[in-house]
Amino acid sequence: MSSPQSPVSRRSFWSNVAAVAYKEASVIRHDKALLATVFAQPVMMLLLFGMALSNKPANVKWLVLDRSHSAISRRFVQDVQMTGYFKPPQPVWSYDDGRRQLQDANALAFLVIPKNFRRDIERGRPRVQLLVDGSDPLSAARVAAYIGQVAAEFATTPLTLAARATSGAESSPMPVDLRQRFWFNPTLLDRNFFLAALAGMLLTNLCLSATSLGLVAERESGTYEQMLALPTTPLEIVLGKLVPFVGLSYGVFAFATLAAGLFFGAWPQGSWLALVLVTLPFVLASLGIGVFVSTLAHTSAQAVFITVFFIMPSFVLSGSMFPYQLMPHGVREVGALFPLRWYQIALRRIVERGAGLTEVLGPVLALVILFGVILAGIRWRMKPRLG
């Protein structure tokens, strides 16, 4: 065992680390499957999150049963249509027909305008019924909110129409003049939400899948025993194995950040220095988890399973894809055990809200603590042993 107290052993410590790093780098260079992941995955995820995925309802199919057949009911339907979230409405001729189509998932919402709609308006208490398909709750809730918004602002008298034309806020039927603004993301694009955390998801995938197989593969091919016979300590082996991956991780990180900016205009609003700095403890913690997994697993198959079933919950619970603030207590706290939770918090602060180094000290501290715990776990599992 070399103790890093004397200068000689410190030199040998670093040269051992460098030697293991060199060996690991040449292994990576020849691992075609890993390289394919490293290159293909970022492009795929960038396209998915940049172009394909959104929680915002769009192209919503809806049904209208207009029993009123009046100009004002048609104007109401038109106003809903104008929000831009909907496809052209499909007219239905009976309530049962509409219900059946909801049942068959042919539409998400079903608007019923009563026969007396025009008379109700004249009397001042107009009412419409909206049925939504609750089997898609998130979209249903939002669609109901959009239609409710249109309805609340619907100008029901000619007077209001005129008022709306002349002055803006005056005509609002709401009791209060609400000025809404979405900071940091004025049009509320889901894309910006996903892209901000893209680097975190890519690095989680890379760091875990790359390292978790490492030690197991060495054990399976017998090179682990050879390394134990060398005058290197477990810590040197681990650090040496991590060094090339840290380099690779920064490459992927640079790709994710630059591509999101170049192709989708989602440039980081805050400090680049903070961005680069906060990435290090996250990468180290993720790599550490990979190494820890490979000390737990007996076969490469097991290592893969443990890794995959660590990656999935960390995506889901971290808040990278779904807002963690809405998760129930308990689930929310479990998510805090994953490094990705803290990294995505930091990423959102820097990339979306323009924060600097001081605002992300909390997440950095959390990441450092997680890394420390993982390192202790690895040391405990890596006591030199054979067989």
Binding site: L34, N55, A163, L188, E359
Partner: protein, 389 residues
């Protein structure tokens, strides 16, 4: 095809699967953990969201407004005294939304009650959390409107008695009224996210776990050399295929039942439609998915490759199958692409049975598509086994 040989192969497979304690653990824990995790992540309900309050008015009127906003537990008010502090709160993510009450709010409110200008309130959302902001928007707007309306009603007692949500200042009443929407959600009255995610989790677990388990079992066989041994036995390719898929299919059918029970007992989500029909369709889907796993592992040279392929395959599975993100919001070309995943169709079926109580007749087109996928994948799996002999 020789039945005795097939039976031997199947017995062998069952023994091999259950001999490995790790595989058995995976088969039980993964569905359990997946259901518990996914069941809770998607929520339409906004609860305990921290709301920054910058009250420049500081009167009983403004305090009453804030109290009403935090009364139902939807929002958790945090007070700020300057614009700068509020901004820092938003940047650091300490608050997800903020309301700014202007200095003359109470005067405006009294003026509005007698028919003049409406009181003005500024609301700021943290667009960085786009999903959260989108969900919270409707809630907060509704709450503020209701609160102000009821305060106006008290200021102007002459209009008291009207519906509280739409109470308007007397002079403003003829100005506009708006339309009341009575919304009812069919199939899921409280718009609860749990059944939606649970029915999707079946699709995720069954697709992903089957592919991984097949990949791993073949990889293990290749490592120990039994796969080569199998190929030189007189067993035909069809027998090898069935000998792998049928026993694993039976194991997963058991997993489906287990998941239905877990979802029902722990998350209180039972299928609205027929549970037996659901288990049957799911077992059929498992066979398709196992064939896919077989193809992936048969076309891979090494264990690592098979595994990488399965993991790469799992990404579009979560994101494009409609499991978590609505397909209708995707660009049209991507929408066509999603139809190529068997998982998309299975998840559609699963949701229809679990949430809308659909029967076999309504699901015939989707099931026919699944069957088509099954035939194609089985044929291809057979050919990839044959190619290796």
């Amino acid at each position: 095809m020789n039945w005795r040989r097939l039976r031997t192969l199947m017995r062998r497979e069952v023994l091999a699967t259950f001999r490995d304690p790790f595989t058995v653990t995976i088969l039980v824990t993964v569905p359990l953990v997946a259901l518990l995790l996914f069941g809770y992540v998607l929520s339409t309900e906004v609860k305990g969201l921290s709301l920054g309050v910058l009250d420049s008015n500081r009167t009983s009127a403004s305090r009453r407004l804030v109290a009403e906003l935090s009364a139902k537990g939807t929002f958790d008010a945090r007070f700020y005294t300057t614009n700068g502090e509020l901004e820092r709160g938003l940047v650091s993510g300490a608050i997800s939304a903020a309301i700014v009450i202007p200095p003359d709010f109470d005067r405006d409110l009294r003026a509005a009650a007698s028919g003049r200008e409406l009181p003005e309130i500024q609301v700021i959302y943290d667009g960085g959390e786009a999903v959260l902001a989108g969900n919270a928007e409707g809630f907060l707007r509704g709450l503020i409107n209701a609160a102000v309306a009821s305060m106006l009603a008290e200021e102007a007692p002459q209009v008291a008695g009207a519906r509280p949500a739409a109470v308007l200042p007397a002079a403003a009443a003829p100005r506009a009224s708006g339309v009341e929407v009575v919304t009812r959600s069919v199939f899921n009255p409280k718009l609860d996210g749990t059944p939606f995610m649970v029915s999707g989790t079946f699709g995720f677990v069954l697709s992903f776990l089957t592919v991984l388990i097949t990949a791993v079992s073949i990889v293990n066989e290749k490592l120990t050399g039994t796969f080569e041994q199998l190929q030189v036995t007189p067993a035909t390719s069809v027998e090898i295929l069935l000998g792998k898929i049928v026993p694993l299919g039976a194991v997963f059918a058991f997993d489906v039942v287990l998941m239905v029970l877990i979802a029902g007992l722990l998350l209180h989500v039972w299928p609205v439609g027929s549970a037996i029909f659901f288990v049957l369709v799911s077992s059929f889907y498992v066979l398709i998915s196992l064939a896919l796993g077989l193809i992936i592992s048969a076309t891979s040279a090494t264990a690592a490759e098979a595994v990488q392929k399965s993991v790469l395959f799992s990404i579009p599975l979560v994101q494009l199958s409609g499991f978590a993100f609505p397909i209708r919001s995707m660009p049209l070309v991507v929408q066509w692409f999603t139809e190529l995943f068997p998982a998309t169709h299975y998840i559609r079926i699963s949701r229809a049975i679990y949430m809308r109580g659909a029967g076999p007749l309504a699901l015939l087109p989707e099931m026919a598509l699944l069957a088509l996928f099954g035939v194609l994948l089985m044929t291809y799996a057979l050919r990839s086994i044959e190619a290796r002999r």
